[in-house]
Symmetry: D2
Subunit: 358 residues, 4 copies
């Protein structure tokens, strides 16, 4: 006997990259039934004009994003500009709509209103349960705590894509007390889909092809306080982080090189064991065999994070490299994984483990 | 009640691109059970060294490609160098092994031994049922004939990737008598995975990035007689074809621009209807709405062909553009689709329809 | 003794791709002195914000494009949107300004007002001397005619980039009576800089990376009548042309595969000799040794066209492949070459012959 | 009156990427006359087969690399595998050949034989004058010292490409006592030409397109001791360095993100001034205006380094980003610049300042 628990999903922001990826994954999920698809300026057009790769939904016409369209589903996924999701969720609640609301945006990720204000400049919209099931919580070196936190949740704040990559890379060492979260340095190679579909000159193909270009250098990127929050959750007392993303000529993918000092007196030989222990039972985080390093291409389309760690004895640092698909494990896949947990479904249900390569 | 018909599959050449893609698709197929994985020079190594994207099979050690390893499965997929598959199939048969043998190579595609000799230079290994379910056969403009030919087949010759793209683009017009298969011109933009994993200077990333480079120009490409064979199957009396593939900086994908003269006196207004009629019920071939043109990115990872057609009245030509993923619809996906037909399973079972984009 | 003939140049549209490339080449030209740089919406900003690669001019502030700024130079280069250059040239002339005006846009390329109207939809602005020194003119198989036409010219209409590539590929066969200009087929792989710097979704890096996408398919591209005009200049009585450009993931470059039927009764063995004869003394057009095919990367940054030709006896067609840098030989380099001729300078003066590869 | 000092140059390893780039630059150098071109396995073939972009030399046949071929030139450039250059230079000297020998390889860069042994494993071949004219030497914040060291040199060890990028980024802060060279972290995005033309699977286009992949992670890269040597030259007492290069899908370019802790008590406001002061008069190192960050595309083909620096007050770190073309400023351009100094020519003679973009 097979028990089924189908659920209906509305997706707001369906013509963007995050919304489109959510649809791709939902189409392959055995229990999901796709309901309303909404958009802002693209309302009234066919999805196939914007996302011709989603053949199954090519002829669906997009509704305008409003609560009338989104109400009445079991799940509502919000792929909206920052600042918009709180009001939508509140309006749904005010109507008595009991949908689980999954926010792919940043509005409800940060616990600290001061950090929010400092990096976003707008009033804090409140905090929702944080959609990173693998997140270690203080005193744990396996992630049961965070999963419990998500079980039965009716609101989910999906982490930033860069945040997922850096957190997964570093947290085992933080939780095990092997690395110092003060003076962390992370530099990332990022695919262009992470910048969304906005029309900006530096995002043109003519500018990006053959180029590596950094952005938000020097401590201004909004993912910084979120990474710090996660490393504190994993057990760090203090966190300081130098964080530099760089756009490189690929459509998808994040390769995060994150390094932290080995704690004075820590045993370098304990490092690999800590990472192995943390991820031994994680379905979507894979510590590669020693000597093999992650590449983004290996994660394309999959909800997989590939991780490697090494000790640089001369430099006194632990170096981690994590590869994810920014739109899957970094956004829509992580969201669906958390939603599975929230709904009481098997966490891995319907999620791709194997990437599309070469 | 759900009827199951699971089948076991061995894959020979599992560490190459075609073999790896076959495994990716088989892992997502509800009835396939992966058996032996074999290789030539990579025998004895872990699959994860060569295909880190296939996390589900990363720890599988590759056997040496021989009949002992391949025997005893329901299906054997051969992703071998040209010339090797005939002997393997014969040895399996000699042992009484009843496996369905699917050849991703060229050995058994051509009916005409003279054409084989001319383009391949080796003795003809015989012809197997041809794995393009959508192929029109003379007198038909829907592809029931070719499907019937595959039902129950125990040998399948999978088409060349370029061949699939060009055939799907042109055959509706040939079958409908609207275009002339004499003086067809096809120019293709090809991703590098189509060239396989061989170590050649012109296949290096440093050479390919920022470059478009043609190869096999001037009538020597081995896919030429195969395209001609297909267009004759679709009803052409004579076929002549100028065919030029060009490598462009993408890992996957074929964009085939194929053009043929409108038959004298043919009604240009009948062109779109012919393509619509042919592909109306095809699950994997999609004629785009008028004015929208295919891109390879929209087919990445999917068993989908996107097709568009236009009449250039000044030039007197019909222009078709077809996009496929060379490793999916062009190789492993087309193979699995044909295998589904051969085994009596639903043709679309386990095959991805939606691409991974952007 | 060395004779010098320095000239001053103003560039209108200096913050765009064509204007920027003109500046790069002028900076390396021994006789050019760069004068006014103007822009439309970017007026008042530093060139370095838009073209950080032009270090020598990074701190130059852009003037607004108007005749006051452009007047008083020996040469004025117009890199403006279509339709704007005629008025600027007329205003300069009305003031008595004697500058040589070089138009990188399309306005003055076509001789036939009907063809202009049909493809551009606006009134014809008149025809200027055509800036393709290598263009063969009827009865000639070496290009002295066109060069003579440019000597002393005070107006130059620079050819379209695709036009240059296709014309150079095919014209030797047309002039020699070996190929038939009826039923020419050309398919091109194009880098994104050819589409300019306009903000359109399909030009985003996220859309273009990993993708090949056609545009203007089916006979609507504005370069079609210009190619036809050139092939008629080379001796063709009638021309029909199927022309399909496709964007591929490179910043620069055009690889034009252009094919035409061998004239009935023509000697295939005469083909190579015709191309050799035509280009033997051309400084910027290089017929590769037999068997070697052009790649766009080999022409990056250089005013070089690499050409190859082959006879496909089965198909009855001559296949030519031409590689150029669309911004150099296809635009700014071709312009400067023509300007050298117009000014009586050595044609090759200051122009790069060697590309930047890999 | 113009004084000329032409010199003849032989290039050993002319069919590789570094040798080819040397030739491209020498062709544009007003005083260089290209002599013997030699190769190892490609001896006897035309240069045009390997470097079709070097049209000016396409028909030159490569000699075998030996001292007979290289002797008798004013300058010999060695683009050879590590370990080979010492013997060639010694043989030339033994013959009484007085050529200036420029080594593009690593053999003579390191002063410390222990560091050499540790990272290269072979006997130390001795140290040559180091070809980075901009290198600060202790007590100086402008680079007169290093230039004097190169003037009249007859042996030049050209720096590693990554080394040049990281050194130029960090040295102003080290020399000014503003940043701590202990606990430096550098992560680089690297184009594939930096890996040379060797046939390895991970260097195939099919593997590299769409992928970011790290290599030599964890402290093993051979450029580490060389960077440390340079930072000590600039005034650092101790240096520790975490260094991670990552291959990204571009043919050329290095984007080096290098970060170091602000010295306790140092004034953040002094940072920009230090970088400005250091590079104010450098012809090839350009500190961008505040807020503008380097991209590799802006340096393509040019001997230019673009640098930017920012203080991340929260993290207590100075972040620098440096973009260079690995084959120009990182290899052949830096070599030619140093050679100009050694020969007493103007340092900038014949070197491109403006890049080829987009």
């Amino acid at each position: 006997m097979v028990m089924h628990m189908t659920f209906t999903v509305a997706v707001a922001g369906a013509s963007g990259y995050a919304g489109g990826e959510m649809l791709r994954l939902l189409l392959a999920h055995p229990e999901a039934r796709i309901g309303a698809l909404t958009a802002h300026s693209n309302a009234g057009t066919r999805l196939g004009e914007h996302a011709p790769h989603l053949r199954s939904l090519a002829d669906r016409v997009l509704d305008r994003t409003d609560v009338d369209a989104l109400a009445g589903h079991d799940v509502v996924v919000l792929a909206l500009p920052h600042g918009a999701s709180g009001a939508v969720a509140a309006e749904l609640a005010a109507r008595g709509d009991t949908a689980v609301v999954v926010d792919l945006g940043a509005d409800h990720r940060l616990v600290d209103p001061v950090a929010w204000k400092e990096f976003y400049g707008t009033p804090h919209a409140g905090t929702w349960p944080y959609g990173l099931p693998e997140l270690l919580t203080a005193g744990e070196t396996v992630a049961s705590g965070q999963r419990q936190h998500l079980t039965g949740a009716t609101r989910i704040a999906v982490p930033g894509c860069n945040v997922t990559a850096v957190t997964l890379g570093l947290q085992p060492g933080v939780a095990a007390g092997l690395i110092d979260a003060v003076d962390v340095v992370a530099v990332l190679a990022n695919g262009y889909s992470g910048a969304g579909r906005s029309l900006k000159t530096h995002l043109l193909a003519a500018e990006g092809l053959g180029a590596a270009q950094p952005y938000a250098v020097g401590g201004s990127h909004r993912h910084i306080p979120e990474i710090a929050q996660n490393l504190r959750a994993a057990g760090a007392a203090d966190v300081t982080l130098s964080f530099t993303p760089t756009l490189v000529p690929m459509a998808r993918g994040i390769l995060a090189t994150a390094t932290a000092r080995l704690v004075d007196g820590a045993d370098p030989a304990a490092v690999r064991a800590a990472w192995e222990h943390t991820y031994a039972d994680e379905p979507f985080v894979h510590l590669l065999p020693e000597g093999q390093w992650p590449t983004t291409a290996s994660t394309l389309g999959a909800n997989t994070a590939l991780v490697q760690v090494a000790v640089d004895a001369r430099a006194g640092r632990v170096v981690t490299v994590t590869a994810i698909d920014n739109l899957v494990k970094g956004t829509a896949g992580g969201a669906l994984q958390s939603l599975n947990v929230a709904l009481g479904l098997p966490e891995t249900l319907g999620l791709p483990l194997d990437g599309v390569a070469p």
